[in-house]
């Protein structure tokens, strides 16, 4: 129906060419005749609109007269007229209309055409038209239309949309009304549009955005982000059983979207906009909701650890509530006198619970903030509050701290997570009027209190703005000015807090005791300690710290000190994993994000990363950071850090390290509750903290790392077994670890970690992010723990890794290498793949690899490696029906860190040998090679893990203590290390080297000509091709003869025959293994037969 082809216009002599001016004239005629939309003509109208779009685009590209006609007839006005009719099925016509406009604006290439289209303001009329937005189709087309327009914005076109005189910008203001639409695609379109608008960088337009819309838009945005957070928090709280993981996933992803959006705005670097946004974020969301939640979780609050703890939390609540009350009162009432009254009223009725999230969620959210946002003023202020703010925060009232950190101190937003007073829509309506007294929603009234503080804040503003469009700036720091007005001395303040304490002790369980309100409503709560007073306090506490102390006393001192830093204390306390590592993981994420955030002043981080002594030296160099951060100096001007914090520099480095080491120690216990990801993160952090600013770890740290390594090895030793699976696990874990180094940003995208740690793999959570389930996973965990801690140790000591990965890929034979195979064990075979393809190859085996070669065409006796697989992972299976066949699965050699997937199957095929004897010989050789290569690796692991109990421990490094005595044959063939050395030396030439220890070449399948050549030339070839002359080597012929003679023993029983053969041959390099000799005896007659047949 929608696309009905009913088309009654044909009767009117529709022009045949669909792309022509005539056709447009004809369509215009239809529009004229159908001014009212009705059931009967809507099909025609839709069709006409569709055609108009097509013709216009065609005209834009081919014939300008088409566009002229369109403009001349003012056809956009027809569109408007149709749109404005409210009749049945109008949405149906509207959709096509919007789509026509979309097509029009998207495809127009001719700039002038675009300008003409925009010039008569019809487009703005269409934008403000109230479509039926409840119809999701209309909504989708409408928002796409706005988005399409926003993509056309530039310094010229902006003036068609933004009217400087009327202060009107419908495209923007209409769009942001949908910023919280329940349809995700609509929300995304709005965000796109806003970003497209901001980046036009038109000064006048941006001023409008800031003055008229920024406050309402950002306050609403922040409010909805906060509401979203509360939802997320509720989801986490109510889901201990991982039931709503998917929902949580979405909530987390949505929050990340928000943060990325904010970051995208901030990255556009529009100072005015960034200031407003920063302010709203800090005052309305990050500080009141995120940071305060670090301490306001009653259930998790430690009761005994600090005498202050509980009380300062109470006072914080009291203070913020009072601020809130005052500000709310002021908003509600315009006149100052009534305002006071309103405040009183507010306070009396105050019983709403301050929103907060659990500590875990708060840590998680803050980590995300620090991972995503790098805008200096935000992250630095946050970091400062987290790290530096001490108990005085609670005495001062939170506004004070923030006031010190907000650039320009334009804190005209109260500190609280609360709903904006006006809905965005209302706020925008008030902007669309032409009055110039628009203010932010929170500030309705004139300034009422002493403004000694505000001169600082207003001086940075454009004077015009201060006087006219932003009258609210004078209210900026109202709360703080209240505080200043009523400054009392410290004693009074302390006293009042004490009284607060006593009251609260009576009702310790109540987070919001009524009595707290009374005391907090007293002026004392708003007192500031002056900076001098603060410094005095701090000086006292830091006096004792000058002389050198033992580690214990340093830590003890730091513990004492940290009692005064409530937020930092929460974070460091969260690192305790004795029960579980739920919180610790987030605390680690936060610390990691904090340390790695580029927007955070490095000097601030020294508190965590440098030991005390270094900290004080750093503080003597005041210019170190201010110079490097010259670009963001603007934002830091208002920051008191340079003077204030330096004097009170306290380091928590030793404490942090001790906490992190404790996590690692716990990880090394068999029944540890520490997840691998937690360990990995703490190991990373420990390294950063130990290396400090200098990048070199102290001897003390290295000792403790070595100690850790010992423990980790001991843990892994528990699982060290000589069975196949341990080796595979060991190598897999190593590969996995080196392939996927920790990415904290990705980690924080995973909502699964927000739920309490679990054990079961059925939760679908990755292994590293949960606890091991069962013995196998415990072994994997132990191995990974060992790797992580070993890595830490090596990095701290600066030693290179020499033992891992177990196989050194350097001497590997590569596909395409030309190998000297003279005098090597080669078995001819046909490789039959599943799809029936068949190749003829020679099979050779060295210490660690199985190699399939093809004879080299240029050099006789040499071969080209066609496929190289690891012997270790080889799967060998006999064929039940055909004894001549073996089924082999060949895997790619494991090349540790290079990123190659382990266990990549290179070839899975049937190997057909000439007879069952050769098949058996091949099987035996491969099986043995496999066992040996595995045993060798197990020894290496034994050495790594310092396994000593199984064999003579003193000899452990050089000999093979764990190696079960090899069979007689292997011992002879590869007597101790000599053999390996030999191989290595010979493998020095990568492209052409000789395979060792194989001896007899079978050429049964080759033609007689070839084989005779090979025989005659083999000795020469050998001497020429081999890197060093090996005159003592027994030439091929000799071996043949030799083998032939030994083959005369008719027995097929392999073991018995081997001592005799091997003893018969004296040179170790030429010793033929039992199976070779055995086989070599056989082929004679067969080869003969073959020669005969050919």
């Amino acid at each position: 129906m929608f696309r009905s082809r009913s088309w009654f216009g044909a009767a009117w002599g529709r022009p045949k060419n669909p792309h022509s001016l005539e056709r447009l004239k004809y369509l215009h005629n239809i529009l004229c005749k159908n001014t009212t939309v009705s059931e009967s003509n809507r099909g025609t109208l839709v069709e006409s609109l569709r055609c108009i779009a097509e013709i216009l685009i065609w005209g834009d590209q081919n014939d300008s007269s088409v566009f002229d006609f369109f403009l001349e007839k003012n056809m956009l006005s027809y569109f408007l007229r149709i749109m404005r009719q409210k009749c049945g099925g109008s949405s149906y016509v509207c959709v096509q209309l919007l789509q026509t406009l979309n097509i029009l604006f998207e495809n127009i290439r001719n700039e002038t055409s675009l300008y003409y289209l925009l010039s008569n303001n019809h487009v703005n009329s269409i934008i403000v038209h109230k479509f039926d937005f409840s119809d999701e189709e209309v909504m989708a087309y409408y928002i796409s239309f706005l988005k399409t327009l926003s993509l056309k914005l530039n310094n010229h076109t902006i003036h068609f949309f933004y009217n400087e005189h009327t202060k009107d910008f419908p495209l923007y203001t209409e769009a942001i009304k949908f910023f919280n639409h329940n349809e995700s695609m609509v929300r995304i379109a709005v965000r796109t549009l806003t970003l497209n608008v901001y980046r036009v960088q038109d000064a006048s337009m941006l001023r409008f955005i800031r003055d008229r819309t920024a406050a309402p838009y950002f306050s609403n945005l922040v409010w909805f982000i906060g509401k979203h957070i509360l939802e997320l928090d509720a989801c986490v709280r109510n889901d201990a059983d991982h039931q709503s993981q998917q929902k949580l996933d979405d909530l987390v992803a949505e929050h990340l979207d928000h943060l990325h959006y904010i970051n995208d705005i901030l990255c556009l670097n529009i100072p005015d906009l960034n200031d407003v946004l920063t302010e709203h974020l800090l005052h309305k969301l990050l500080v009141p909701l995120y940071i305060y939640s670090l301490t306001s979780d009653p259930a998790k609050r430690p009761v005994t650890s600090s005498p202050y703890n509980r009380d300062h939390i109470q006072s914080i609540e009291a203070i913020t509530r009072n601020l809130e009350a005052i500000l709310k009162g002021k908003n509600a009432e315009v006149s100052p006198t009534r305002m006071t009254f309103a405040r009183q009223q507010r306070l009396d009725s105050e019983d709403e619970v301050k929103p907060s999230v659990s500590c875990v969620v708060a840590l998680f959210l803050l980590s995300q903030v620090f991972l995503i946002i790098t805008h200096g003023p935000i992250v630095h202020a946050l970091a400062w509050i987290i790290i530096q703010s001490d108990l005085s925060v609670f005495e001062d009232g939170a506004t004070k701290i923030l006031e010190m950190y907000i650039s320009n101190a334009k804190s005209n937003v109260k500190l609280e997570f609360s709903k904006p007073q006006l809905s965005l829509e209302k706020a925008l309506e008030s902007t669309s009027g032409h009055e110039r007294d628009y203010t932010t929603p929170e500030y309705g009234g004139p300034k009422t209190f002493g403004s000694e503080d505000t001169d600082q804040s207003s001086c940075d503003l454009d004077p015009e703005l201060v006087s006219t469009s932003l009258p609210s700036t004078s209210h900026i720091s109202e709360s703080s000015s209240i505080a200043h007005d009523s400054t009392e001395d410290l004693v009074t303040q302390m006293h009042s807090i004490k009284s607060d304490i006593t009251v609260k002790e009576n009702m310790p369980d109540s987070p919001l005791p009524d009595s707290g309100i009374e005391s907090s409503s007293s002026k004392a709560e708003f007192n500031n300690i002056t900076d001098e007073e603060k410094q005095k306090l701090l000086a006292v506490s830091s006096q004792a710290s000058t002389e050198k102390m033992s580690l214990e006393s340093i830590i003890e001192k730091e513990i004492k000190e940290i009692e005064k830093r409530p937020f930092l204390k929460t974070i460091l306390d969260s690192l305790d994993c004795s029960e579980n590592d739920y919180k610790a993981l987030f605390a680690l994420c936060l610390l990691f994000a904090l340390i790695n955030n580029k927007g955070v002043n490095t000097e601030l981080l020294d508190t965590l990363l440098c030991p005390e002594t270094e900290g004080s030296t750093v503080s003597n160099v005041p210019s170190s950071t201010s110079q490097s951060d010259a670009t963001s100096s603007d934002s830091k001007e208002g920051t008191p850090t340079p003077t204030h914090s330096r004097k009170s520099m306290h380091s928590f480095n030793a404490l942090l390290i001790s906490k992190l080491i404790a996590i690692a120690h716990l990880s090394c216990k068999p029944a540890s509750k520490v997840r691998l990801v937690t360990l990995e993160l703490s190991v990373t952090l420990v390294r950063i903290a130990m290396q400090g600013a200098t990048g070199v770890a102290g001897a003390r740290h290295i000792v403790s790392a070595d100690n850790l390594r010992g423990r980790a090895a001991a843990l892994a030793r528990n699982f060290y077994k000589c069975d196949d699976i341990f080796l595979d696990m060991f190598e897999d874990e190593y590969c996995e670890m080196s392939k996927r180094p920790l990415n904290v940003e990705w980690l924080c995208m995973d909502a699964a970690i927000l739920l309490p740690p679990t054990r079961t793999p059925m939760s679908g959570i990755a292994f590293a992010k949960r606890l091991p389930s069962g013995e196998m996973e415990r072994a994997r965990r132990a191995i990974r723990t060992f790797f992580l801690i070993r890595d830490l140790y090596l990095k701290l000591t600066g030693k290179p890794e020499t033992q891992l990965p177990l196989t050194n890929p350097a001497p590997f034979v590569q596909v395409g290498d030309i190998l000297d195979l003279n005098d090597s064990d080669l078995i001819s075979c046909d490789i039959i793949q599943k799809d029936g393809t068949c190749h003829h190859r020679f099979l050779a085996v060295d210490n660690i690899q199985i190699i399939l070669v093809e004879p080299d065409k240029q050099k006789l006796g040499w071969g080209v490696a066609k496929l190289v697989g690891s012997l270790q992972d080889l799967e060998i299976q006999g064929d039940k029906e055909d004894p001549r066949c073996l089924h082999l699965t060949i895997h790619k050699p494991r090349v540790g860190a290079s990123g190659a997937l382990p266990r990549t199957v290179l070839l899975r095929a049937k190997f057909k040998f000439d007879d069952h004897i050769r098949s058996m010989a091949a099987k035996q050789r491969l099986t043995k090679g496999r066992t040996k290569s595995r045993q060798k690796k197990m020894q290496q692991i034994g050495r790594l893990l310092e396994v000593s109990g199984m064999a003579a421990p003193a000899l452990a490094p050089r000999h093979r203590p764990l190696f079960t005595r090899p069979a007689g044959l292997t011992a002879i063939r590869r007597s101790t290390g000599a053999d390996g050395d030999d191989t290595e030396r010979r493998l020095r030439r990568p492209s052409a080297h000789m395979l060792k220890d194989g001896i007899v070449v079978y050429r049964e399948r080759t033609t007689s000509r070839e084989s005779s050549i090979s025989r005659s030339s083999s000795t020469h070839g050998l001497r020429e091709g081999s890197p060093r002359s090996r005159s003592e080597e027994i030439p091929l012929e000799d071996i043949r003869r030799n083998a032939a003679s030994s083959s005369s023993t008719p027995t097929v029983s392999i073991p018995q025959s081997q001592p005799s053969t091997s003893s018969a041959l004296q040179k170790p390099s030429a010793i033929s293994s039992e199976e070779t000799s055995f086989i070599s005896g056989e082929p004679r007659p067969k080869r003969k037969g073959l020669v005969e047949t050919i």
């Binding site: 792309h19 065609w58 789509q99 087309y141 995700s184 695609m185 992803a253 959006y261």
Partner: protein, 213 residues
């Protein structure tokens, strides 16, 4: 208009591969290729029928928004299907597929159905990427592959509908949580309102799918 499900698609790929033309060709078939007219659009919707059910496809083109990270990641996440488009006459657009795919896999939900489209198959003479190469890439990464021409409309219909079919199958298997609109799937108005009561046969599939999750 009543529908059983609404699927949201996104179209990704380098600029100039014909994403918006594909979209317009699908949603508005009558833009015929005359006079060498290239014409596209960034959004469109169309109703199709699968298994006797009305399914509405909403297709969002993400062109021009790559500059903002927040936007691309949101788009990916809100879609049930993605058409990853390259231009068979431009090798570089094929070479960039890996990056696109990585991005898509990282940001989208794991169930999103991705279809690989080699567009402009009408320009055989200027072909730079063999069909086999596209097939191999698709096989390697587990995608469905098709060569289309937005100009001649060849395979355009199929590309969108096949993707929808696959999504529909996933719903039947209970892989998609259809009650979660963040997946880019929406249950139709009459569908959800009727719920288990009167939806009858039409509702059974949806209900079964939801029940599994």
């Amino acid at each position: 208009m009543a529908y059983a499900y609404l699927f949201k698609y996104i179209i990704i790929g380098d600029t100039g591969v014909g994403k918006s033309c594909l979209l317009l060709q699908f949603t508005d078939k009558r833009f015929q290729p005359v006079h060498d007219l290239t014409i596209g659009v960034e959004f469109g919707a169309r109703m199709i029928t699968i298994d006797g059910k009305q399914i509405k496809l909403q297709i969002w083109d993400t062109a021009g928004q790559e500059a903002f990270r927040s936007i691309t990641r949101s788009y990916y996440r809100g879609a049930a299907g993605a058409l990853l488009v390259y231009d068979i006459t431009r090798r570089d657009t094929f070479n960039h597929l890996t990056t696109w795919l990585e991005d898509a896999r990282q940001h989208s939900n794991s169930n999103m159905v991705i279809m690989l489209i080699g567009n402009k198959s009408d320009l055989e003479s200027r072909r730079e990427v063999k069909k086999e190469e596209g097939e191999a890439f698709a096989r390697e990464h587990g995608l469905v592959f098709m060569e289309t021409s937005a100009k001649t409309a060849a395979n355009v219909e199929e590309a969108f509908i096949n993707t929808a079919k696959e999504i529909y199958e996933k719903i039947q298997e209970g892989v998609f949580d259809i009650n979660n609109e963040a997946n880019g799937i929406k249950i139709g108005p009459q569908h959800s309102a009727a719920g288990g009561a009167a939806a009858g046969g039409a509702g059974a599939g949806g209900a079964a799918g939801g029940g599994c999750c």
